[in-house]
């Protein structure tokens, strides 16, 4: 079992990142900070004759790295009650990969991965973060998979998440689960 963490936050070492780092402490993982890459919004060519064209940005190299792992942890701050635009642009591009001959098994492979969501927000995340959870459930459901778990944490100012004991405990439990799967 190998883990990819996809970070959607705009701020280095933000609350979502701290919580996620705590969850994967001691586990091997490949960390991908989307803010470090140039990933354009999708140019929807589903219905054009020539189909999708390579946009020449970093998307393809990033998705290739993601697909090499069995467990995906989507770590996004809750921006405006759903995932960050950085994360959303990345996800939107999957529509392109679904039609990319370099990823002929994209759908099946995504459906067989374990997927977790870690999301921290400042405004009642346990209630107002639920649309985000439901979106990810539908996203993984599209591939025939499911969202295997999620952690919602509360934090706004830097470091605030470290006071959310419930979130920290949930992160420990996720870590335990991920290490057991590893055997």
């Amino acid at each position: 079992m190998s883990i990819a963490v996809i970070y959607g936050g705009a701020r280095q070492n933000g609350n979502t990142e701290q919580l996620t780092e705590y969850a994967i402490e001691g586990l091997q993982s490949e960390k991908i900070y989307l803010r470090d890459y140039h990933i354009l919004p999708i140019d929807d060519q589903r219905h054009s004759e020539r189909g999708f064209q390579d946009l020449g940005d970093d998307y393809n190299s990033v998705i290739k790295r993601v697909m090499a792992h069995d467990v995906l942890i989507f770590a996004t701050p809750i921006y405006w009650y759903t995932m960050s635009g950085l994360m959303k642009n990345f996800v939107d591009r999957w529509t392109e990969t679904l039609r990319d001959s370099e990823f002929p098994q994209f759908r099946q492979e995504m459906g067989s991965k374990k997927a977790f969501l870690i999301a921290v927000g400042g405004d009642e995340p346990h209630i107002k973060g639920l649309p985000l959870v439901l979106s990810f459930q539908h996203i993984m459901g599209y591939f025939g998979g499911k969202l295997d778990g999620y952690i919602l944490g509360k934090g706004s100012k830097p470091g605030e998440i470290l006071h959310d004991n419930a979130a920290l405990t949930a992160a420990e439990q996720l870590r335990k689960k991920l290490s057991q799967n590893g055997n």
Copy 2:
């Protein structure tokens, strides 16, 4: 009463656009196609000393045009069970505007606008589009406002929305509502 339509679709004349055009037929409105502008993901500087810096892209000019209107229609295709990345990046930047001295009344003004969502998707939009609706409800709620209405339509291939009679009727009813407000 004046109307701004904010289009989040990547494809010209896509299903969401067609439905929205039908809803505003004969009404005066300012149409903003986000795909025609360069709008970067937010660079979260809420907690940095110097605060947000101008990213030098088109965001500020676009939000200025949006704020000049009383009614906002957010028209986004349902990409992966929530708004498009183009739309999300635009919304994310509001965090910056909330702290921008050029928009001292941003919060109150946004809270006093009428807001509508028009969203078309191919995969059970009336169920799987609900997280998107809930997100927008929370978004407008943040400003003390609310989502005044939404239309979910079904369509995937170009033009398919024109066969969704329920959505077309809802669009007509929205049009009627918007014209009455105009007096």
Copy 3:
């Protein structure tokens, strides 16, 4: 195709009933007003040795009538942001029917029915009624089916629903759909 309408409202001729009557005008249907029957809360005997015992109320005769139809319309007022207790007690008893040898095909049969929800409420039904929609989606999903459509209407005082043009139009469209299926 034959239609059963299951009414969960406590009040005769309430808003939900008026909207539903409008939707099925001219169509043949069997109408079941749950308030006219004695249906006890479930006595959960899933895990007892002897299993479920007949509670001697009207439930079994009602579910038998329901199962005779291909299309189910669940018509419930939105009480406290979900279905009425009358409706919920009826649904809860399905757990019993799932284990009842008199209904050996209950699961498959329920999964093959068309299911619609009509629900009227006074407090932002298009937003605050969504948890009810999601519950019904999961309910039909349990059987391998789905919620084929829903209408949310706004009304509180008697007759108020007759001013909700959007709901009335949606009811007409449902009627058309149901009549076409009937051929």
Copy 4:
């Protein structure tokens, strides 16, 4: 601070009860098992001339006991993706109490209480239990309050909840929170 626990389960010592008992271990509380009382579905007389009439069942004595406490824990198994019919009938009757001169402050008092939800289900409770959470959020919101917290646990067979470590930990954290408030 004093606690009322309202149990909506049909089965004695079911999973939801076990989890809740664990959460309130060592705390003083008044426990109300709705299945032990005769509580009729609401007879909606909001719009009749004479108004609500006493149904002569146990509802009034139960709500009186509930109102004597500052913290309400709603403990309901997830039956068919929302609260049990027993719980729902109890909640539905609040409509009556809102108009009952014996409870002139019902709305304000409910709005000032702390409210928690504990719910256990067998079928993906962390996803499919979310409509229940959203309903309770709206319910408490009606009074101007909010849902202060919730615990979703997984369990179907008797005792199964005792293997849901995440739920048990959340219960411990709720217990800690409730004891601190007590000082």
